[in-house]
Every structure is written in C-alpha cells, then in structure tokens.
C-alpha cells in the first residue's frame, strides 16, 4: 500500500573531464581552467567523490598547496571540516569553527571572499593552518538558494598575492559546487533515513518462526526499493497445540507505518492467545486501531489451524484471498466472508469461516505487493499467483518460488509472504526425542495427530497417549546421565491394533517409589499387552492395544 515518490540517486551520467587533460596556449589554458571548475558532470556525483574531485581540480587549477571544504552544521552553528588536500588533519581531527570566528567563520558570516596575504598577522583560529606553515589563504563561501552551506578555501606555503582572476575562479567553483553538494547531502540524509526505517521494519518482524508440531512454516519479507511499508507476518503458537498464522499490511509508508505495524503485530499475538476465533481476534484488533492516534487502516488475514484435526478457522479484514495448495494438483483461492479493512468501519462484525487444511496441504498468505501492478487489475495478479504457486517441496521453497515468479521485480511495494503446511502423515510414526520432560507434550501431540489420521477413536487415543507418556516418563527418569540421552518411539498400525515401542539405552527400573509403580499400573491398564525387554544395550517397552476395546 505504499505510495511512491520517484527518488533516484545521482548516477555517473556523463564522463568527467580528467583534471590532467593536456593543454595548449594561454587563452585555451584559461578556458580549460574555467571549464574544469564548472564541469556540469560534477553534479552527477555522490557526496564523497564530488568533494574529492572538486578538491583535486581546485588545487590543480589554482596551483595551491592546500584546499579545504568546511560544511555548515546548522544545529550547532559551526563549520565542520569535511574534505581537504594538503591539510587532511583538519578532517581527521574533525575541526569545528564557529560561524563568525576565525578565517573560515568570517567568510561564512560575511558571505564574502576573504584573502589573507600573511597568515602570521591575521585572525586565524585554526592551529592546523599555522602548524602547516601556510602563509597565504583565499576563501569563498559556498552558497546555494540564498543559504550559506559552507566554505571553500585554498592556501599556499609560500607568500602569494592571489589575483582577482584566482578569486573569480574559486568563486565560480564554489557557485557550481554548492548546489551539487547540497543535493548530495540531502540524498545521503534520505538514504540514512531509509536505512534506519528498513532496520526498524526488520526488527519488528519475527526473527525466526517457531518450530511446531505437525506443521512446517516459512516466510519472506522483501522491502520496497525506495520506501518502508507496513507489511508483516507472524506464526503464533497457541494453547492446546493450535497454530495461528497471520499476515497484515498497514496503509501508508515510512517509519509511522512500520511502527504501527509493530503495534498491531504485538496486539494480534496478545488477542490470539485469549481464544481461538480469528474473527474475534480481528474484531478486537479493529477496536484497538480505532483508538490509535491519527487515521490508521490495515488489512489483516488470520488463520488458526488445529493440526490434529485439520480444522482451520480463517478471517480476513479486507485482505487479498489466501491460496490453498493441495499435496497434488492445482492451487485454489480460499473462499471466505468479506469484511472491510481494520479501522475503516465502526462496529464491523468480523466472523470466521471454517474450512479444512488436510495433511499435505499448504496455506499461503501474502500482501498485495506480491500480486499488484499498476497497469493491471487485481484479478490478473491473483491468477498469476494461483498459476505460479505450483507444488513445492517445502514452504521455504514455495515462498521463494512465488517471490521469484510473481512479485514485480521493480520492487515498488513491500512484499510479505508466509506459508504453513499441515505436514503429511507418515505410515509409521518414528521419533527420536531427548530424554527431557519438556519433550513430552510435543510427543503426545504428534502421537494424537498420527492416531487420529489413522482413524483411531477418542477413547483409544487417550489410552495409548497415556501409556506412551508413562513409558517415556520412565525412560526419562532413569536416563543414564551424564550427557544428553535420547528415547526412540515407534508407533505402527496393525489390523485392529496399535503397537507402540519405546526404546532407551538405560535399564528398566519398575518401581522406584509409588509414583513409578503407578506408572506401570497405568500402562498395563491402558494397553492389552505390555512387554518390557531389558538387555545390556537398553530397554524396549512394547505395548499393544486392540482398538475399540
């Protein structure tokens, strides 16, 4: 949604006349001197090369020993040495001269050339000039659009009577250079602002996406070439194994849009943790945006997936439609109820649409920068995206693929994409997990998801999960520390029966206190058969449960 001002840096348009060009005759010599200092090619340079080129030419043309450019720091009312030849110390030491004081300061204040025939007797503040043994100085102000922006001066190590012609040449150089310097300075300031805005934007996006059970996610953010936008994405771990995936786009551009984006991203996370209805999340976000200063508007799409059941709730506030990629075959657009962007309508009643994201399917969310081009309707861009979002091995590849194939390479708008795949179900569940209590919850979630996909009923799932949890807990408690230990879990479906094997490298100890004793009772009650096989290499617990028993 960013708007764009054309902003181009000065390029290397025309070839610069070299300062060492051979010359002929006194009149030709004079003309060439003048031309060297008024070369329009100088205006094409960025600040540093421009200053360097200017110094070299002035030094050569005026046959001076030293040349310096001081630029005005308006906030301090001081001249700052910015570039020099022969007196490089000025720049290295960051010499600052107050406007009105000393040689350069008086030039800036009086906005007139000053010639000093003999430095020893003149009002020169800068000790470097004296220390260098400079005897004569000639300086002129750098003026553009009626404003003094700095001072250009030359010096000699032997006393010299600068002529009117010398002064005229130096003034010509100054009047040519001043607008170019000012332009280059402004451009650099803009560049700096752009860089800091991009850094801000980046810092407000997730550093990395969480690793979650049953899904694989990936995201990309590509800033606009010239400006920062308010696009963001997020993947949110929700209670009870649910996963939220969000994308949003704040209207406008620049630092303000980026900071509003940061607020909305945080607010969406906070509301998302309260409940699992995307419509309700958007309604609260809308209420929040209405309280923020200034007129703010954003489009947001938010989906909540239960990877165990494949049920997906989705709500969109004026955002372009999500793309659903099946495991095989053509991508389709996700149909959902349409609601206005956040911040545009009081009491907008955002509601969820419920659909499914089957194992192997992927949902792709993106911002309009991906599909929009100025010259064509959105439906053309949508179709280009749908056609390009072909089968991809991973969400990572999918994100890259759509950025490469669909996004406008001119980069006029920022682009965010985020993809979430409900992972396919393996025929046999095989996991290696660390012997760590925190590994247990994800394992249960993975197990429930696998069992459900194999048409196992709720009571059987609860019993198998419990028995498996107890077997793993036992392995963790008896982990043969020190050092990291791991447990292998394998679950397979035989006709009418689920077989669970938990393997570790420790020794089975059946009852250390009543707690573990209870663990074994629970396993035996939950499963038809529990076999514990211990050997030197470790312990295998093999458990079977007949389904529907």
């Amino acid at each position: 949604m960013a708007h764009h001002r054309g902003r181009r840096g000065p390029g290397r348009g025309q070839a610069l006349l070299r300062a060492t060009e051979p010359t002929a005759g006194p009149r030709a010599e004079q003309l060439l001197r003048a031309y060297r200092l008024s070369d329009p090619g100088l205006a094409e340079l960025t600040l540093e090369p421009l200053l360097a080129e200017l110094l070299d030419r002035v030094k050569l043309v005026l046959d001076a020993d030293t040349v310096a450019i001081l630029l005005l720091d308006e906030t301090e009312g001081e001249l700052v040495a910015r570039a020099a030849r022969g007196i490089e110390e000025e720049v290295e030491q960051g010499v600052r001269i107050p406007v009105g004081g000393g040689f350069a300061g008086r030039i800036a204040a009086e906005r007139a050339p000053i010639f000093i025939a003999d430095v020893d007797h003149a009002d020169v503040l800068n000790p470097i000039l004296r220390a260098k043994g400079i005897r004569s100085l000639l300086g002129v102000p750098l003026v553009t659009e009626g404003e003094t922006i700095g001072v250009l001066h030359v010096g000699t190590l032997v006393p010299r009577q600068f002529t009117n012609e010398d002064a005229a040449l130096l003034q010509m150089a100054a009047s040519r250079a001043a607008p170019a310097i000012e332009r280059a300075r402004l451009f650099e300031a803009l560049e700096r602002e752009h860089r800091s805005a991009v850094a801000l934007q980046r810092s407000l996006l997730p550093e990395r996406l969480p690793t979650l059970v049953g899904v694989e996610t990936a995201a990309r953010y590509r800033p606009a070439r010239d400006e920062v936008g308010g696009d963001w994405y997020d993947v949110i771990e929700l209670p009870r194994g649910l996963v939220g995936v969000a994308i949003g786009d704040v209207a406008g551009h620049g630092v303000r849009a980026a900071s509003l984006m940061g607020q909305l991203r945080t607010a969406l996370r906070a509301y998302a943790l309260e409940h699992n209805q995307p419509g309700e999340t958007l309604r609260r976000l809308d209420r929040l945006i209405q309280t923020l200063e200034g007129r703010s508007m954003a489009t947001v799409a938010y989906a909540v997936l239960d990877p165990t059941t494949g049920v997906m709730r989705y709500a969109s506030a004026g955002h372009p439609p999500a793309v659903i990629l099946p495991a095989e075959g053509e991508a389709r657009l996700l149909e959902s109820e349409r609601f206005p962007p956040l911040g545009t309508l009081s009491y907008a009643n955002y509601r969820d649409s419920q659909s499914r994201l089957e194992p192997g399917e992927t949902i792709l969310l993106y911002t309009d920068g991906l599909i929009e081009r100025r010259t064509e309707s959105i439906s053309v861009g949508l179709e280009r995206l749908r056609a390009a979002a072909g089968p991809a091995a991973t969400p990572e590849e999918l994100c890259q693929q759509v950025l490469d194939r669909v996004a406008d390479e001119r980069g006029e708008d920022d682009v965010a994409v985020v993809a979430l795949r409900n992972l396919p179900i393996e025929p046999v569940l095989a996991l290696r997990l660390p012997a760590d209590p925190d590994a247990m919850a994800p394992v249960r979630q993975t197990l429930r998801r696998w069992l459900r996909a194999h048409d196992v009923g709720a009571a059987d799932i609860a019993a198998i999960t419990l028995a498996c949890g107890e077997a793993c807990a036992n392995a963790i408690e008896h982990a043969y520390a020190p050092g990291p230990a791991s447990i292998e879990l394998e679950v397979r479906a035989e006709p009418g029966t689920i077989v669970v094997t938990v393997r570790d490298a420790g020794r089975w100890r059946a009852s250390r206190g009543t707690n573990r004793g209870r663990g074994l009772s629970i396993m035996r009650a939950a499963m038809e058969e529990v076999q514990i096989r211990s050997s030197d290499r470790g312990t295998d617990v093999v458990m079977r449960r007949r389904l529907g028993s």
Binding site: A441, A463, L466, A473, T514, N515, S521
Partner: protein, 116 residues
Amino acid sequence: MALADLEFRDAGQVLVACVSGEIDMANAPDLRSAVAHELSNQPLALVLDLTGVDYLDSAGIQVIYDLRERLRERGQRLALVVGGDSPIAETLRIVDLPSAVPVADSVDAAVRRVTD
C-alpha cells in the same frame, strides 16, 4: 507455551484451584508448589477443579496425593472436580484415586462435599 493454566478463587471457606490444560512431569512440580503457596491455614478445604484438564499422568496423580497429605496434616480437606466424560476420569479409576479423595462432577458439589 504453558502446558496448563492455573486460577484461584474463593468459595466461602473453600479455596478453589482451577487447572486447565495438561499435567505431566514437566509442570507437575510447579503446579504443586503454586497451589501449596496459595493455600493458607484459613480455608477449611481445597477444591481442585480438573474439569479443564485433558491429560494427567502419574506425575499429576502424585501431585494430588502430595496435596492430600499436606492438607491432612493441617486438618484441611480435599475434593476433586472431574467430569464424568473427562479424558482423565479413566486414569483416576486405574489408580483407584476416588477411594482416597472425593471426586465430584461440579465445583458446587465438591464444595458441599468438603463443607457438610
């Protein structure tokens, strides 16, 4: 992501601790400490509301027994709330917990059990 949420409220002279989520060896010790910390000598009893718990293993069972022991030392009573169709009801039956601690199917019923 926290495995379980824990909230407290007062029901007259009874402290109600309401747990929702999952209880396993990763969070059982913290839940036990949090409930023990909240429990002063004032209330007559603790009602542990497990209505919202959908997984509880032997580590969670141990928390219940530990709390029962602690309460008994101070002359306070304990009751559980577990719905009849709760996924943890079967686990409690396996370890014969209902014979050691009264189990009701609502907070009101549990409060009546420990205050009559």
